[in-house]
Symmetry: C2
């Protein structure tokens, strides 16, 4: 007879993933999925990638399949610093810690920083995977208010001060300032400065998650908060959206004070990031015009975004609103009173369209009036069809 | 001015890695390293691996570089179940959770099971990476006594009962029953049974880490504890030693009761294990006679082991002893009184040989009388030279 001990207390703070439930259905045959955050990979240079992978294995296979540096390969760390320079950051490659996806980078930061009961503030709404990570350490997670430009800093300041006055320890603010997921807002420069100042004044670590920063439709990049406050900001980067997620490669550049303890933490997690994948990523960045491809990807995503919006415009009641994205993958749709996004999702799936209801991005029951529609992966034809189906559905629902 | 909050309390339980310090020196030019646990990869079929990787990227690149199932690819989970069948286990592929290395599997189990102050018992000595993982959750880690056959179960029972009597919560026993690292002991069947029974009686999760099980010199496999107690044992597997660690792929098969919460935990860590690497691993297992290669590897490791032993025999005083390994990578050498392994390591490095002092495998100051010598990676020529250098050094040291 097997007998197991009780689970750790922190498991009680785990978050049942609504997104995961949605995804389980998203791949049903014939279903058009506006649910995922998966980038379009069809234009990647698979022939060249195949040649590169083949060369790596024939020329240095015993290196590629072996253990390697816990912090990542030196060449890739330099390349990451070069990528970050595009958004205004001057980073010492020695401060770059490569991880098996930036999700694990966020885990590492939580493990290092958060005691049970500590407050972590996230945007409301917040990337569901980020919420899962920060909640999983018995954390007291709070949402901060956002508007069409993202975090509202004076309200955040008041919220933090009230928490501190009540004896709470506010450890971190987790933010996606550029092309926020799911709100797709871009935090303006003056708010970035104010946010950094606020965190510095209150002794709070500011986590800047920037998976989408290079995906602005106009090709312009926004100066990262890390650029002006390297010692206040733990920066999370990812190759998942600007290349593809299948190699599982992300990175952290923390304040220098935290580099040592985060190196140890990541090494204890995975010993080292995948060696083969790092060499593949490195070869791609060195051997291919990846910035040229990214430019074509930005144009594609913008076309897809506009296609979805056109379909929604043509079929939605005017009471359904959104802000046109300036980049990235997501349309964050506001529903009029009387509609519920979870209910709508079930009905939309019966008509062959799946999306993520807004409730997946909050921990406090908000989001019933929001849907996140991803336009990154479906074709324009699918987007037109899906947008029209959603518009018809919502029109019918409102008429009832 | 940057101001950061204090670190989480658990960081105080992190373990400074002596092994890491050693490894930093191990790659110095001309140094013969007996320090690592890196497998010999020179005989891998790099041409075929290159062809496979190339085919994956040209034929299904948009799958290989995309997100995939959080638990791992279905085909690979089936193949893992097939590998486990070689050691007597009848595993449902649905219970297999693929991870980015089995180190992350151990992390996931700790995160799910261990509250601050909970006791985790490990073998003394214990794999240094395993110690780092279990210690990193504010755990009360205790070593259990071992002899030439591994864990001494009646002593372990008394130790557990004493801890329980003192009000401690003993959550897990972490063990490497087959080719233990670093002791290279093989736990006999009757002790395995007794260990399972003990854990079942006391409500303790038994972690069976089995990275080396297929590396017995005689090619015979030992029946895993998991085979007879699937609901008491969380089994950790790895492709790192039987193939190579560069893809970072390991797995957990927990008691079924823990599958759900561990899936969630691993997904929160990494979203999904590397898709490309999983396809590569899967193609290798399907398309190559990997068991034939493993047979050649076992013979190679045995030759290297015997070469190192011969060099030690020829140069060491008789007061230096060891048990001849029956498989795997490590010789666990016992030093006579008056010698200190950390001191010896420094002196050995000055002569061009590096190894891991026994103290790296204990948390309580034991191990000054032990050295772990790895014979897996150096050539026979290097092993003869390194063994002779160590023998001469120790002879001189004892004569002083």
């Amino acid at each position: 007879m097997a007998t197991l001990p009780p689970l750790a207390h922190r498991v009680g703070s785990y978050r049942p993933s609504k997104v995961r439930e949605v995804f389980a259905q998203a791949n049903a045959p014939g279903m058009i999925s506006l649910a995922g955050g998966a980038p379009f990979l069809g234009d990647l240079p698979f022939g060249e990638l195949a040649t590169q992978a083949s060369s790596i294995l024939t020329e240095q296979g015993a290196v590629a399949l072996q253990y390697s540096f816990g912090v990542g390969l030196p060449r890739l760390r330099q390349q990451i610093a070069d990528v970050m320079a595009l958004e205004g950051m001057d980073v010492d490659p020695d401060d770059v810690i490569v991880t098996a996806g930036s999700q694990l980078a966020l885990e590492a930061i939580c493990k290092v920083m958060v005691d049970p009961g500590d407050v972590v503030i996230t945007e409301g709404p917040c990337y569901a995977g980020g919420l899962s990570a920060v909640m999983s350490y018995d954390t007291d997670v709070r949402h901060a208010e956002t508007d069409d430009d993202g975090l509202v800093i004076d309200k955040l300041a008041a919220q933090i001060d009230e928490l501190i006055a009540r004896g709470k320890t506010v450890k971190m603010v987790y933010a996606i300032p550029t092309f926020q997921n799911p709100g797709n807002t871009v935090l303006p420069p003056e708010r970035r400065q104010a946010l950094v100042q606020l965190c510095s004044d209150r002794g709070i670590l500011l986590i800047e998650d920037n998976a989408y920063g290079l995906l602005g439709f106009d090709g312009e990049t926004v100066r990262a908060m890390k650029a002006d406050a390297p010692e206040q900001v733990a920066y999370l980067g990812s190759f998942s959206k600007m290349f593809g997620p299948g190699l599982r490669l992300g990175w952290i550049v923390p304040p220098r004070e935290l580099v040592g303890v985060l190196k140890d933490t990541v090494e204890t997690f995975i010993l080292n990031p995948p060696t083969m994948g790092q060499l593949q990523m490195s070869a791609y960045l060195d051997g291919y015009d990846w910035q040229g491809l990214l430019e074509r990807m930005r144009a594609l995503y913008e076309r897809r975004c506009d296609t979805l919006i056109a379909a929604l415009r043509g079929s939605m009641p005017a009471s359904v609103t959104w802000q046109r994205p300036r980049g990235s993958f997501y349309l964050w749709v506001k529903l009029p009173e009387g509609l519920d996004s979870e209910d709508l999702m079930v009905k939309a799936m019966a008509r062959g369209v799946v999306f993520v209801p807004g409730t997946a991005f909050y921990i406090d029951g908000q989001g019933h009036d929001r849907m996140r529609l991803s336009y990154c992966l479906p074709t324009e034809e699918q987007l037109t069809k899906a947008g029209t189906i959603l518009g018809e559905l919502i029109t019918e629902e409102l008429a009832r």
